[in-house]
Symmetry: C2
Subunit: 246 residues, 2 copies
Amino acid sequence: METLVNGKQVKSVKSLQDIQSEVKVINRIAISVDCVIFGFDENKLKVLLIKSDLKKFLGKWSLLGDLVDPKEELDSAAYRILKQRTGLDDVYLEQVHAFGSVNRHPADRVVTVAYCSLINVQHHKLKILDNELHWHDVQNVFELAFDHQEIFSTCYKWLQKRIQEHPLGFNLLPKKFSLRDLQNLYEAILNIKMDRRNFRKKFFAMDFLIDIGEMEQDVPHRPGKLYKFNFDKYSRKKKKWVGIDF
Amino acid sequence: METLVNGKQVKSVKSLQDIQSEVKVINRIAISVDCVIFGFDENKLKVLLIKSDLKKFLGKWSLLGDLVDPKEELDSAAYRILKQRTGLDDVYLEQVHAFGSVNRHPADRVVTVAYCSLINVQHHKLKILDNELHWHDVQNVFELAFDHQEIFSTCYKWLQKRIQEHPLGFNLLPKKFSLRDLQNLYEAILNIKMDRRNFRKKFFAMDFLIDIGEMEQDVPHRPGKLYKFNFDKYSRKKKKWVGIDF
DNA sequence: CAAATAATGTGTTAATTTTACACATTAAAT
DNA sequence: ATTTAATGTGTAAAATTAACACATTATTTG
């Protein structure tokens, strides 16, 4: 495969055929995507799990995932799984990490790409008809099948970090929400308590909340105002991060 | 494949053989790793590139990468590439993102997992004998082969963000460095100018720098003190991130 | 219907962190 | 000995964050 290029000898210039023979079937690996689907219900952060369909892990819960078809985009595979399982296709979805331990799957080498998804439980509550599918409180997720505990843990930490820098949390709430809802969401995800007055001040100062002039309904106390998030304004003004802080 | 579990009928319990037949050869995909290897030299952030060995991209530069063997860990594959190309095996390496567009590789479906590596150029300068391998100023990286421009761009942004929250930048410096070196590093990576006095104050306040009692040598001005980074202390005290800020 | 309850809604002050900025010191070069 | 070009240190203003208290409103209870 020695070739002349501009009169100089260049080593190992490869044609497509050369590559194709390198990428022999023997070198190929199964790829899957696994979705960590978060929801927020009754002021708790939830994750959607399914009973494992593999004998070795009978009784264990696992993430929702599937093999990626060679003609399918990774993102599309993740959307496909979400659509199949929740009935929704306009959900927030973001790739988090690839997990590729040689022995992570008992049947074969399967490299999996983990995605985080945030969905509004209120909107899809009724779509989950399969009773092998269940929302779990994130604080009670243990001993998942495969390496899904590690994947879940990575994605949960990712969410905790990410939600402090980007407004993705709103995907877990209804379009209209109260500031109390928003604070409950942050407290549930970060697993901390926050000062109500400072929390409000913070969000009002960012100026991305739109007062829609409506109030909460059917609450057993003074109803709060309802807001929605101004995604347009955010995408125009999003802050650029500068500041060293280990 | 109907089975009884605890007296209840469970649909579709799969044995390993079932899975293995699902993961047919036809469903497998080539996986590669691509390394974005950063270095720091003459106060500039550099990236190590190689001339593409593919005819379609003749003359274009590309990242260092290779196919992953089915028996090989993803991380190991990345280390292998680094070892081959730089002669070093104790380098900082971290997975950043998986890129899987169906048509990203002209020969076949190849999903690639991008890794960022940070190496100390001083230590390996002489190992790069292959003249098709070259350190490029990150500001002058254009039109790479494949989708490597996108991969590079993602990894560079990742580095800019990451270096502000974690002390990985020290991997780009010699073990002993001056505060000026450190500031030059940050300025090069973030592409901004910083105030020298505030920069020092910031790092001294974090209290992770050890004054090793030595001074710079052979500088044409007053020599500065040399420091090293206290990784042990950092790993004990690393800050947990709380604070909403979009 | 009045009182009690349990939330929402607002503001002020202290503490901390960040930014802006100036001058003395040191070693090498002239 | 003087000039030069860095290093090394400190202080004050500004901005942000943290701590904290009280009036308001709708519902529930007696």
